[in-house]
């Protein structure tokens, strides 16, 4: 495990996210989905940063379907209607910021804003080339390709709110659980 991946895992755990270092992505997806059939929204297997290959999202979608889960893909006509009922959202990322355990996501065709936002659980697959030290490096990477994506987001652990007595409580609007498969 690289130093960056190690740091990412440590920081993600510190903000109540769950790192899976060196794990098989499909196995993690099946474990997170659980035994009872659920609806899983899985992004297209395009790489967020435009370079390199995908991270095997098609294969993960196949495994989830074989295990009896209902799988939603962005190209499905019923995506928007059914996303609200999804329990799990699976994405790649454009960059992973080691200093803060942050996923930098870029949205576009095949990579909707909702996959990492609406379901209760978010699973992201990070590959070695995605890892950078910190936010300025991540921003430089996504700005490098010329035109910025229509929307991007930094995701650091699960959704939380400090609005009641300033104590952070997890899972208010966004996902309550964030799992990240690291190289």
């Amino acid at each position: 495990m690289s130093e960056l991946a190690e740091r990412f895992a440590r920081e993600l755990a510190a903000v109540a996210g769950t790192p899976h270092a060196g794990a098989n992505a499909a196995e993690v997806a099946l474990e997170v989905a659980g035994q009872t059939p659920i609806v899983a929204a899985v992004d297209d297997d395009t790489d967020g940063d435009g370079g390199g290959g995908g991270v095997g999202l098609d294969a993960i979608a196949g495994e989830l379907a074989r295990a009896g889960h209902r799988v939603l893909r962005p190209s499905d006509a019923w995506w928007s209607a059914e996303l609200a009922g999804a329990y799990l959202g699976v994405t790649g990322c454009a960059a992973a910021l080691a200093d803060t355990g942050t996923l930098l996501l870029t949205f576009g065709p095949g990579r909707p804003r909702g996959t990492s936002l609406v379901p209760r659980v978010h699973l992201a697959i990070v590959k070695e080339g995605d890892l950078v030290p910190s936010l300025p490096d991540g921003l430089a990477r996504v700005a490098d390709g010329g035109r910025l994506a229509s929307a991007m987001a930094c995701v650091t652990g699960p959704s939380r709110s400090g609005d009641i007595e300033q104590i952070l409580t997890l899972g208010v609007h966004g996902p309550a659980h964030v799992h990240v498969v690291l190289p």
């Binding site: 200093d99 909702g114 959704s159 939380r160 609005d163 300033q166 208010v172």
Partner: protein, 470 residues
């Protein structure tokens, strides 16, 4: 005039009279729930910020942030022009609003034209400033605040009392009571259950809203990127799910460059909540594009002036650097004692005491610069180096003072311009305290102040004696 804390906290429509600061503060001091909540708040926020800002990984961050904000404000007009061009190139509709009424008109007209029935909002102090919710409700639109703190405040018919933690004045017990009333049955008073209750109720609103309205934390002049810093995810939902997104952006939010975000976002988050990075940072670059299945089809930015341009070139220009982190509220002994509602306006704490009299004409907030001990804690923590307590002194000098005060200080100034009267007053000072207590204004002034013991003899008397000695 006696006011209760309930009245102080209540959402007040523009134009409704405001009780004097002294009465508002007294009402806050008498509210036990508020006092308890304030003690909890100050501890949690200040410890978090101190730890986050003493991290060696961010040494120099504050200086960089200060430089970026100073540059942004010094070239504000130029940056705004660049931003407008970048936004237009991205397909975002740009509207300019000279004041709150103009901003409200733009948004109401748009909502009417599109047949909007329901609006979801993510937390925005700019929309509080222009009282947007009340105006939209007046034309029959349902407005739903989706930030948990704002939702609590909206359901209680109150105003936010802290710029990043709107419901900081409410205890968990009070939230439980409020939510139980909404639910129609008693809810357990666990934070997790209260959050889940609000989330469940708001989920449908996100999916059925016709318009999402947000504020803006930063806007990048070179790319047109609008940035929202949030923790709950309601900001992402508000700007992703409804077909129309409207962002209300006060003019000072503009940053010169996209790359400045690498400094400004961590600086804001560390000072606001003590986190290294908030759960979510959204970067919005226009409406959804060809081939995308979500994101707003239409995006509007309302650039709000509301008195800000008037600060350029004045001693108050540094106030436009403010990034609304609330560090100054959290360290302020006055805020920590009277809470945000007693300030009477949208913004509270030291930044509010400076901004309110500047942004609102009229005399309503002229007494706010008195709501400070001038200890300077605000200036020392401000991540962008705004000399807040000095600005408060300048505002005090400028404030329209009462006729009685003017008469008294005029008399004083004339008396001290004559050596004989000055000397007489110095001799009188030894008896000043008992004398001051004879008059009601003097008694009020002396109340709660510890005055230095006067010397046994005046300097002049001592000098006369020393000089004639052999």
């Amino acid at each position: 005039m006696t006011v209760t804390y309930v009245e102080v906290a209540r959402h007040r429509r523009a134009g409704e009279p405001l009780a004097p600061l002294r009465d508002r503060a007294r009402a806050s001091l008498g509210d036990e729930d508020l006092q308890g909540a304030l003690r909890v708040m100050a501890g949690r926020f200040n410890v978090g910020r101190r730890i986050a800002m003493s991290d060696p990984a961010v040494s120099g961050l504050r200086e960089k942030g200060m430089a970026i904000r100073s540059e942004g404000v010094a070239r504000l007009r130029e940056n705004l022009a660049r931003l407008e061009k970048s936004l237009t190139d991205l397909g975002v509709h740009v509207h300019h609003a000279a004041d709150g009424a103009a901003a409200v008109r733009v948004i109401s007209d748009l909502a009417r034209a599109r047949g909007v029935k329901k609006v979801v909002k993510s937390k925005s102090m700019a929309t509080e400033e222009i009282d947007l919710n009340a105006h939209l409700e007046d034309i029959g639109i349902e407005v739903v605040e989706t930030d948990l703190g704002e939702y609590i405040v909206q359901k209680a018919h109150e105003r936010p009392s802290h710029i990043i933690a709107p419901a900081v004045h409410k205890s968990r017990v009070q939230v439980t009571t409020l939510f139980s009333e909404l639910a129609g049955h008693p809810l357990p008073d666990r934070r997790e259950d209260l959050c889940a209750f609000a989330q469940e109720r708001l989920r449908d609103d996100f999916l059925t809203a016709d318009m999402g309205i947000s504020g803006v934390n930063f806007a990048c002049a070179d790319t047109g990127t609008l940035v929202l810093v949030t923790n709950e995810g309601n900001g992402r939902m508000t700007t992703s799910l409804p077909p129309i997104h409207v962002a209300v952006m006060p003019i000072e939010k503009v940053l010169p460059r996209f790359s400045d975000l690498g400094v400004m976002v961590p600086l804001l988050v560390r000072n606001a909540t003590g986190q290294k990075l908030s759960s979510y940072v959204s970067f919005l670059n226009g409406p959804r594009r060809e081939g995308e299945v979500d994101g707003p089809e239409e995006m509007h930015v309302v650039i709000l002036d509301n008195g800000r341009t008037g600060l350029l070139g004045t001693p108050f220009e540094p106030m436009l650097r403010c990034i609304r982190c609330a560090a100054c509220l959290n360290v302020c002994p006055v805020y920590g004692t009277i809470g945000g509602h007693a300030y009477g306006g949208t913004y509270s704490g030291p930044m509010g005491a400076v901004l309110a009299p500047l942004l609102h004409g009229g005399e309503e907030f002229d007494d706010l610069p008195e709501a400070t001990s001038l200890c300077g804690a605000c200036s020392s923590v401000c991540p962008v180096g705004i000399p807040l307590h000095e600005l408060l002194i300048t505002l005090r000098q400028r404030a329209r003072t009462s006729r009685g005060k003017r008469w008294f200080f005029g008399l004083w100034s004339r008396a001290w311009s004559r050596p004989s009267l000055y000397r007489a007053s110095a001799r009188l000072a030894r008896y000043g305290r008992p004398l001051a207590r004879l008059t009601p204004p003097g008694r009020r002034w002396a109340e709660g102040r510890t005055l230095p013991e006067p010397a046994r003899q005046t300097f002049h008397a001592w000098w006369a004696k020393t000089r004639t000695a052999p």
